[in-house]
Subunit: 357 residues, 2 copies
DNA sequence: ATTTAGAAAGAGACCGGTCTCATTGATATT
DNA sequence: AATATCAATGAGACCGGTCTCTTTCTAAAT
């Protein structure tokens, strides 16, 4: 009784060699595409290979060559449009260069990130692209360097690590957005992020564990401080991780003595949640409150009004990160570099002068 | 001169064995967690391993065991929320079961899909989850079975292949949506899909190469036929692959003698594009035209009006597909099964009775 | 005291490729 | 004709694990 489904021992070079009546070494040369072989023998081996339906075992190949042809990617959450677009950029660039991509989710959780990195190194990925969930904990990333696996940070950078990073120009982007609101006449502007924290407030922006958020907050604060506004960090709020908590954050903001007249959402998910919160409170944009969101996400174009956003070229960022990694993998000796890509403000309909009291 | 970045030869069991003054076999037993070892020796080996920062080479491990611990996933497009959510479901289920996921994009293109499948098999994935781009071309999928790699189809099924599949109840979903529109009083209802085709029209729904779309179209047509409407397939349109072509599809529909009063979008991307098209034409929903979209995507809740959708539990679908595959990987002998998950219609504001002429 | 069972450790083959080195044979050189 | 040169093939080690088989040693059984 024969079982077709049962995994039969797969066809190896040795099998092909036997069928083609040549040595294993010769068959390997043909099948592996290296060394010198006569045309006649080559044809012979190829014929045997197709007849037997030979498929190279990449695992074995990787083991001897030491290269797996795989790039490991650790992102916060593939479900998030930001990351899925980035992954697309990475995958495309990788495929063109002949690499494959293996993806792991960290859920923005340090321990998950650590084990993902460990695992990918165990799989002997040739290189790693990581979105560090915390920029202040980097032992595991130092390990990556130690074992000699090239590493590129994505979306966030850790200068102390001395590795490549590809990020947006987060500070400038925040500056542009904040200026835009300031110019529209707003004086009480809130910045809302999903970053996990003890409370909703921040004590010191320098302690923000996510460098992208930190840069943005610093840009935000610098503009407001420059404009002579007092205590601008009062309006920086964290912890908008889901709809419920976002509702709470917004509620707190609006119930205070001097509520903000404009909001900046730290990413498109926060933006979406804020939009929903505002909607459910019956507040209209931009009459009652203005808002700007990071990332030109799908939803921002079809709302009424459409949302003014900071357009991050995420696909290109992913592509750049992959290209940087790949040029390292191809042996280029490069100094660690911080690549920042330019973002732009797309003005739509969600910003207007604040309502006069 | 020492180069810290250069990849140094990695630490192997043999190195650990030497350091712990035991045989390679014994060290391997400890590090691999198999066989019997005395506590004393175990401690000795563990100490040496941590001292040397030993990291197992999963590649080598996979080669001997024949299992890689990797599940290969081939999707149409990770950038599409449908797939990124599914991938999340797959990844989560996989991680819980101790598997990893390697993702490849087919771009809904048969050749890309073929090479992705080849490649993943070359990497010796333990199992495969594939969204077949065409349900009428399945040689490469038969190869998968032949080499003995368990396969689960996702979102689309190919009964002739005799493998597991996890899909939505596409026919029923389309039936429910169409009935809903019919009950609202619509008689001219269009179904718009992004499926690539020669023209925008279909000759025979049985020839649709994507089984999910085929099922939906068949459900759609059956309801309309049952309702006594003539030539309902006239209103089935394909090729809405990007904004421009979607605009064209809509233009053609609306310029005809008896334009549709309601639209069904085959997926959330088509829905989004249709929404934009309608917006740019100055048509208001649902006064001028009603619409229903597949997939409860982010954007559908924040439009004015919010969009009535067919909610597909995509995360669960991904999870189910992974779980099915994993139970096979764990040696369960199962008959091929078509799993369909129930969808539901979420009524929001995009459906109203048609305007009276 | 001698046999015996079983636990613990060692030796070495093996997985399926790559790659170095040795061997063969044909052509070019003197 | 004898030697040098080089292309084409073969033989076998190697990568880093797993795993089988063998050996050693201790403790229970007779």
């Amino acid at each position: 009784m024969e079982n077709f489904a049962a995994s039969k021992r797969s066809v190896t070079v040795a099998d092909v060699a036997r069928a083609a009546k040549v040595s294993k070494a010769t068959a390997a040369r043909v099948l592996g595409g290296y060394g010198v072989v006569s045309d006649k023998i080559r044809a012979q081996v190829m014929a045997a290979a197709t007849a037997l339906e030979y498929r190279p075992n990449e695992l074995a190949r990787s083991m001897t060559t030491g290269k797996s042809g795989i790039i490991g990617v650790v992102v916060g959450d593939i479900e998030n449009a930001f990351f899925s677009l980035a992954v697309r950029g990475i995958s495309d660039a990788a495929r063109i260069a002949g690499f494959n991509v293996i993806i792991a989710n960290s859920g923005e959780e340090l321990n998950a990130e650590k084990s993902a990195v460990d695992l990918l190194i165990g799989k002997r990925v040739d290189g790693l692209i990581v979105t560090p969930s915390r920029c202040d904990r980097m032992d595991h990333l130092q390990d990556v360097r130690r074992v000699g696996v090239p590493l590129v940070l994505f979306d966030r950078s850790i200068p102390e690590l001395g590795v490549d990073s590809v990020t947006g120009d987060d500070r400038d982007a925040a500056v542009a957005a904040t200026r835009h609101l300031l110019e529209a006449g707003h004086r009480r502007i809130a910045y809302v992020s999903a970053l996990e924290a003890d409370g909703e407030h921040i004590a010191d922006s320098r302690h923000l564990s996510n460098s992208a958020v930190r840069e943005r907050v610093e840009g935000f604060l610098s503009v407001l401080t420059e404009a002579g506004l007092k205590n601008p960090q009062h309006y920086v709020r964290l912890g908008a991780t889901d709809q419920e908590r976002t509702n709470a954050v917004l509620k707190h903001l609006l119930e205070e003595g001097s509520p903000p007249t404009a909001l900046v959402a730290s990413d498109s998910l926060v933006g979406l949640r804020l939009f929903r919160s505002l909607q459910s409170l019956g507040l209209s944009i931009p009459q009652d409150i203005s808002m700007i969101s990071f990332l030109d996400a799908d939803w921002t174009t079809v709302t009424t009004p459409p949302i003014t956003v900071i357009d991050q070229p995420v696909y290109e960022m992913g592509k750049k990160a992959a290209e940087r990694l790949i040029s390292r993998l191809n042996g280029k000796e490069l100094a660690a570099e911080r690549t920042t890509v330019k973002t732009s403000l797309i003005q739509r309909g969600s910003v207007a002068p604040p309502r006069r009291k």
